[in-house]
């Protein structure tokens, strides 16, 4: 099928602005590739919570779940919190509710974006962090204990089932990347198995599962060494599955290497659902000014099209994904577009319009 039903959840802050740019790009894609999108808007976020007492409309989750894919902007606001002081982050709820176990966060150097690393090989950065997104430390969200104002605890949970799913997902991803981009087909689990039993267990299950993919080069790396090596030689890595909180940390580090959160797209994938969102948040400091960088959101649209294309056998959707990526590279690498976050003067709309035109 070439016709898709999208749940569009722009959220708040710059989420609204980058989603507008994404919509412009989606419009261009519809025209050029004989694709059609039915967009259903679903509000939500911290402001929604403040106004209505709920983060999402009552049927919001259900409606999102019925779509072919969810496009998510950003939600959350520093001053609006739950009574226990933790933040309103519906994307976390959705990862759990839809069992979106694979948080796919590609870190790819975009030509033209000023280099962050001094090493000349920075241009070769092309890796994917796959953040397990339903358990790990985040299994403790809302469940931590505080005892007598003296001590507090949170417990990390690693299950065989999810680790197997994650490993299978990563092996397939590495295989797919090898076929389409010539990468080495390597999957490196990032853990801390030298100290923690839960990670030793994760590693064991990882290797057991990876053994079913003999064409894939399966390895492991310690989280601390990986934090170092992502700074020293990120071009040496391919697909990096890891625990939820480790993935949270490493994917921001990775975004830093390629120019910041404005260039880091993401996909949260489960067996039955896919949610696509930029790695950045609502950025209250710049919200409403039209200066947000929509590249991460636009590249998330490309990830969505790739996933829809694969799932529904739509080569038009896959072609559209490639066209978006190439247009982004052209806009920054050849046309010298420069967003505010890298010291330029091209605003959110300008970037969205330019990429739409290139398509």
């Amino acid at each position: 099928s070439n016709s898709f039903h999208l749940a569009v959840m722009p959220g708040e802050g710059i989420g609204l602005e980058v989603m507008e740019a994404a919509a412009t790009v989606l419009g261009a894609v519809e025209k050029r590739f004989e694709l059609s999108f039915h967009q259903e808007h679903i509000p939500g976020g911290a402001h929604h919570y403040k106004e209505t007492g709920a983060i999402l409309p009552k049927d919001g989750l259900e409606r999102a779940g019925k779509s072919d894919a969810i496009l998510f902007g950003a939600m959350g606001w520093p001053d609006i919190r739950f009574p226990d002081g933790t933040e309103i982050a519906p994307q976390l709820d959705m990862r759990m509710a839809f069992e979106l176990y694979a948080g796919v966060r590609p870190i790819r150097a975009i030509p033209g974006v000023p280099p962050v690393l001094a090493h000349e090989r920075w241009k070769d950065i092309d890796l994917v962090i796959v953040r397990e997104s339903t358990e790990g430390m985040f299994a403790s969200r809302g469940k931590g204990e505080i005892i007598d104002d003296k001590e507090a605890r949170d417990t990390q949970v690693i299950t065989r089932k999810v680790t197997e799913q994650l490993t299978d997902f990563c092996c397939k991803l590495a295989r797919n990347r090898r076929e389409t981009r010539g990468t080495p087909g390597r999957v490196t689990l990032v853990d801390k198995a030298n100290v923690f039993r839960s990670f030793a267990f994760m590693r064991k299950v990882f290797y057991e599962t990876a053994a079913k993919h003999p064409d894939i080069d399966a390895r492991h790396h310690y989280i601390d060494a990986m934090a170092l090596d992502l700074v020293r030689r990120p071009w040496d890595f391919d697909v990096l599955p890891t625990e939820n909180l480790f993935g949270d940390i490493l994917s921001d580090l990775g975004a830093g290497l390629i120019g910041g959160m404005g260039f880091a797209p993401s996909a949260d994938i489960g067996a039955a659902h896919g949610m696509f969102q930029p790695s950045h948040g609502t950025a209250p400091d710049i919200a409403g000014k039209g200066v947000a960088n929509p590249t991460a959101m636009i590249l998330s649209v490309a990830m969505m099209l790739d996933w829809l294309g694969e799932r529904h056998g739509s080569s038009a959707a896959r072609d559209a994904a490639r066209a978006i990526e190439l247009s982004v590279d052209h806009a920054f690498g050849t046309m010298n577009l420069r967003t505010y976050d890298i010291g330029g003067r091209h605003g959110t709309r300008h970037i969205g319009n330019t990429i739409a035109e290139l398509i």
Copy 2:
């Protein structure tokens, strides 16, 4: 007093080599500064475990505990493990046994070391990560549960007592740095309080304690944002206390920014004891070749002298610490010494001898 009893635990692998270079430097310091060191060697490590069934000699901990300071090289070996698969890491045991709650890991750009970041301000990197080293996630070491080969758990513990100690320590450190180096006197707790109650608790206790140090600018930062900002603008940070595992990750990331683990010293400080060691491990791949970079070990000696000087009112020890730091800067910045880890050809002994001569 100007006479100190040191427990010297070189360990294994390159630990032995860098400790030799450190001994040369200590010898020079003795001559130049009217200090005297009584060095008591204590063996230990993974090979010791393999040979004797114990990581340290029976009275090893006790002897180390009676010294004025512990100089530690590196211990641990990939192939020699505990029956449960976790690594032999006596430094972890010692942090617990001696309640060395403050893992002080300075990240300072050394002139002459090739820049890792493209930004011209890389030279201004001068921050200290203070890794809480007795609880946090590491409270779960050896205690994680594996249930039916299906699920595994590890629990992080944050206590009020240790968080208060850590905060006091960091406020004093920031004050001292402000006085001696002109830094801004800022302490930024790194946490994930937006999601986890244990971190929300840690942050609460942090601010309660920091309020007793009104001259210190106390702030907080999320771990993911910090991983990004350490890549984007590390020169903006001063003292960064954080949970044990976060500190493990961030200090390796930080070491990456200044040329690698070979340049990253550390001090593990408690109320009654201090242990000083390079942040690197035993490096089995290069052990025995004389090519290890001893700078981190030598700078750890400087941290030891600073601490002894402060504790025992020895200005000679403090002067010696400064002399070591200046000699390191001179060796790399002016004499163009280049260790193998940064593409040079100056071996372990050569660096040790040169710094000793400069002193």
